[in-house]
């Protein structure tokens, strides 16, 4: 009887802990979703202008689950691009996910196999940035946090892109709500900085992206990110030599 009671108490404590991680995941997701709302409305405008059936345009939300890639694909298809050209452009826009995959791989090593297959589906910018701030969590806490931010974003994105189909064409763009997106990513960036080297890398990546901003399909983003990482590699090589 004693052990049974203690077992239940341990189980209860584990449940409370899990709930804490879920609550934290949802609390971190909600402010980050604010700038996604106008983005979902932009998505609605793009679908409307592309001439693609609204339900078909919306199906990109569960199938692709990546706003920038969805908008790129649908606007190119709407402009009459070939399937090959539109898919290639959308995948180039989403190529930074390869970097997320490499970066996250060590954190997935001590995770169950199902999570290694399911987790990547939700590995969007925000989930990546948020879970990078949780490097010190134990595997269980990391998994619960990752899944709750991911599922929270997923359901909100599916809902708001559906809403966007109806009201996207009605919101005035002068509100400038889209500026909330770079603001929140600046916040994520600042919270991830813990050395001057990283600040230098971030500034270099941003500067290079400005220089290459006229490359098509937002390739400048990739060039900037890759040069930033190359600088990180040089800094680390120099450190390990000295």
């Amino acid at each position: 009887m004693m052990t049974k009671g203690r077992g239940r108490r341990v189980q209860c404590r584990a449940m409370t802990k899990t709930l804490t991680h879920i609550r934290r995941g949802i609390a971190d997701t909600l402010p980050l979703f604010v700038p996604v709302v106008p983005f979902a409305l932009v998505f609605g405008v793009v679908v409307g202008e592309s001439g693609i059936a609204p339900w078909l345009g919306w199906s990109t939300s569960p199938i692709i689950f990546g706003g920038a890639a969805q908008i790129t694909l649908l606007s190119l298809l709407g402009e009459g691009a070939s399937v090959a050209a539109a898919v290639t452009a959308a995948l180039i826009v989403g190529a930074r996910h390869l970097l997320y995959s490499v970066t996250m791989a060590p954190r997935f090593q001590n995770q169950p196999r199902w999570f290694r297959w399911v987790g990547p589906y939700m590995l969007i910018d925000q989930v990546f940035a948020l879970s990078m701030l949780r490097q010190e969590d134990d595997p269980h806490a990391f998994r619960v946090y990752f899944l709750s931010t991911g599922l929270c974003f997923w359901s909100l994105w599916l809902f708001f892109t559906a809403v966007g189909l109806f009201i996207g064409p009605l919101v005035p763009s002068q509100w400038g709500l889209v500026f909330a997106a770079p603001v929140l990513f600046t916040a994520l960036l600042v919270m991830a900085l813990n050395s001057w080297d990283k600040l230098a890398v971030a500034l270099l990546a941003g500067g290079v992206t400005v220089l290459f901003s006229e490359l098509p399909n937002r390739t400048g983003l990739l060039v900037g990110a890759l040069l930033g990482i190359a600088m990180g590699l040089l800094l680390e090589l120099r450190r390990s030599r000295s």
Binding site: I52, L56, S59, T60, I64, F65, A69, L73, L77, A90, L91, G94, H97, L98, S101, T103, M104, A105, P106, Q109, R113, R116, P120, Y121, D125, F128, A129, M132, G176, V178, F179, P182, V183, L184, F185, T186, A187, V190, A192, V201, A202, L204, A205, G206, T209, V210, S213, E214, R218, G220, G224, L226, G228, I229, M231, G232, L235, E236, L237, S240
Partner: protein, 103 residues
């Protein structure tokens, strides 16, 4: 039908790009140098992403005084409070104020 094909292909490609290293490197050990370099991925991508978000589809970068002041304010508030909502409110107020003054 061709549109649906394009959507499915992009979906598969996007999933593959997110999953490839996580699934393939499931049990492999990472060299310490790689692990340290990976720490720079987040600052680099986020730095590039912020700029990319201020860029229009045709490549024009929209960074004027309101944007710069808003982002500087965001960085300062995020650094001191570590709170997303405070950061968002402060930066948007700065951005809207400067923009309405026509700066």
């Amino acid at each position: 039908m061709t549109a649906f094909l394009a959507i499915v292909l992009t979906g598969l490609g996007t999933y593959a790009s997110r999953a490839v290293f996580i699934v393939a490197l499931g049990q492999r050990r990472f060299p310490p140098l790689i692990l340290r370099v990976l720490e720079y991925v987040a600052p680099a991508v986020l730095g590039a992403l912020v700029v990319s978000m201020l860029t229009t589809a045709d490549g024009t970068v929209l960074i004027g005084l309101p944007e710069l002041a808003g982002l500087a304010c965001a960085a300062a508030v995020a650094w001191t409070t570590r709170n997303h909502i405070f950061t968002l409110l402060a930066a948007m107020v700065v951005f809207w104020t400067l923009r309405s003054l026509g700066l």
